[in-house]
């Protein structure tokens, strides 16, 4: 990069924006990540994958209303199903999912609702989402988990207000 040459000037004219563009993108990312309240799974603790079906928070999977409009789902994933396999909540509910896997790595995806979590044996995963539209939405296992992986799905049924 020899000073004063044309090549040097072109280099500089490119390097400065090349530095500024990623920085600008990062700022946008941080603003939207925190400003828009995007929630990533963090470190929520461990469970013993060998006994998770018998003891502890995942012994009885199910849906519990914890406050008006707030639901907590305790869910296990196992080849090749989710338990509970069907979740019913009224429209406008916020659902807190707590989930883990009893055997191999599974995935947990609700398309168009920004719920996207890996379920690892031994780890507790957390995600939360508000359902603003009535309808039936699939819960899809999106990590290869064996020969019948493509049959592993559940559903969320969001019921309209009566």
């Amino acid at each position: 990069m020899k000073r004063g040459t044309t090549v040097y000037l072109y280099e500089l004219a490119w390097i400065l924006p090349s530095f500024a563009i990623p920085v600008g993108m990062l700022v946008a990312l941080v603003v939207t990540a925190f400003g828009a309240g995007v929630h990533l799974p963090g470190n929520e603790g461990r469970v013993d994958p060998r006994t998770v079906g018998q003891t502890g928070p995942f012994a009885e999977p199910g849906v519990v209303q914890i406050a008006p409009g707030q639901y907590e789902v305790r869910m296990t994933a196992q080849i090749w199903s989710f338990a509970p396999g069907e979740i019913r909540v009224p429209v406008g509910s916020t659902v807190h999912f707590w989930a883990t896997s009893k055997d191999v790595v599974h995935g947990f995806l609700i398309p168009r609702h920004i719920v996207n979590v890996m379920l690892l044996p031994g780890q507790v995963a957390h995600a939360q989402v508000r359902f603003d539209e009535p309808g039936e939405f699939p819960i899809i296992c999106h990590e290869y988990c064996g020969i019948a992986h493509h049959t592993m799905a559940g559903k969320v049924i969001v019921e309209p207000r009566r």
């Binding site: 530095f19 990533l40 060998r50 690892l120 296992c141 999106h142 493509h150």
Partner: protein, 544 residues
Amino acid sequence: MSSPTSSEQRLTAAFLIVAHVALFGGVVTGLFQSLEHAGVNVYPSTPLVKSYYHSLTLHGVLNVLVWTTFFICGFVPFITTRALRIPFASLGLAWGTFWIMTAGLVMAAIPLIGNAATVMFTFYPPLKAHWAFYVGLTLVVVGTWLVTLNLALTWRAWRRQNPGVRTPLPAFMSLVTFAMWTIASLGIAAEMLLMLIPWSLGLMSGTDPLLARVLFWFTGHPIVYFWLLPAYISWYTLAPRQAGGKLFSDPLARTSFILFLVLSTPLGFHHQYTDPGIQVGWKLVHAFLTFAVFFPSLLTFFNVVASLESGARARGGKGWVTWFGKLPWGDPSLAAQVLAMLLFTFGGIGGLINASYNLNLVVHNTAWMVGHLHLTVGTAVTLTFMGVSYWLVPHLASRALWSRTLALWQVWSWFVGMIIFSNTLHRLGLMGMPRRTMIGAASYLQPEWKALLPLVGIGGSILFLSSMLYFVNLVLTLTVSRAPAPAAPEFAEALSGPDHAPAVLDRWRPWLVLAVVLIAIAYGPTLVRLAVTTPFNTPGMRVW
């Protein structure tokens, strides 16, 4: 320029042969995958291939692990000795490396083909493959370290004869590529040696999926740079000459490679944004570092395009954009590389979306990713390597390419097929279609996906036909072609040469130390916490 000796040529040829056998297996299984998505389930009638998932594992392992690695281990040392104009430090070591890697490959291939390792190329435990699969792949990685050793010894011998001289750019880039990879591969080596191999041999009763994934992705992101940097070596040091021009800036090229050396590894958590068990703060740190590596990518974009432009202008190109048409499009080797660059632009933009902490939630583990990695490793890398083969194979065989016209058809059909294929998969991913799924049989197949899925089969079929044109051309080059090979492309001169580069760019220690320090900062706390607290109590399973 002195050529590598004939024994070195045979060594490169040996690596290329193994690479191409793998590529052949990979594209055949790839065709099956894409047909399945289009509603044609061929698996009941295929010999050997037992299921969609068996096929998918073969496709992934053969293409992204074997084809790339063996091609690189043949091509990059060839480039290094050619640029330094000295023979390998140890030809015996080089051949030993080839046989260790090939033995490892055969060892891994037996359970892989026998459906005893249907665990995808990511082999996440507790899916438990046959031990030979893990041991074989580990031998391949050990082989790559021996390549690093040989390159370093060769460079040292050159340095002794040439004190004070700048390392020629192609050799410098080759050394950076293998230095970066050797550091990055420590993650997968630890996963294999400390977890998967003892566990698959029955010496450990359990494993831990999270720690295994952290170690896997320690290597799993930089491995894409291990694939890409050899393509960049061709783009920087050969393509400008093939285009009739000069490399725009040698110092800027060195700068971007040093930045790849430093920044490639401490960013693997961007593959694990959706994993539980990793603190959100560290995920954000890795997001920052991933965006930092965008900087050398932009430098590469500028430098390579400016170099091509110098060639096109020398050939009479005019205008801000229209010079592009004046590139020597009749040369299939250059056409392949330029089209690979074009599609890689979209791959790069997609990569930024994947790395974005927030947008990743929309696309993680969906078909979007399949579209993305077919633009990157499937085109930027693979189509470039095909372009390299169009001069390298004739050079090694001393026979001219059988048909340049056929090669041009091949290159363009790959480009068109890939646009259809990857665009469709990106769109399906945005609609929430999962990756790695036998989607034609899925219980939750959505009507909006169904409308697009035939395009996956059409794009995949075009890509398969394109790859067959490639193989036919190479086979006929080796068997039928009688004309002598044209001279292999020489390395490009630079408009701004190596003497303009700051001397610190030619020193190794500060950059290697900086790379290790950054890795220690980005990974240290999480790895220490996991090493101390992980119970290794997850039993293994065979569920296929």
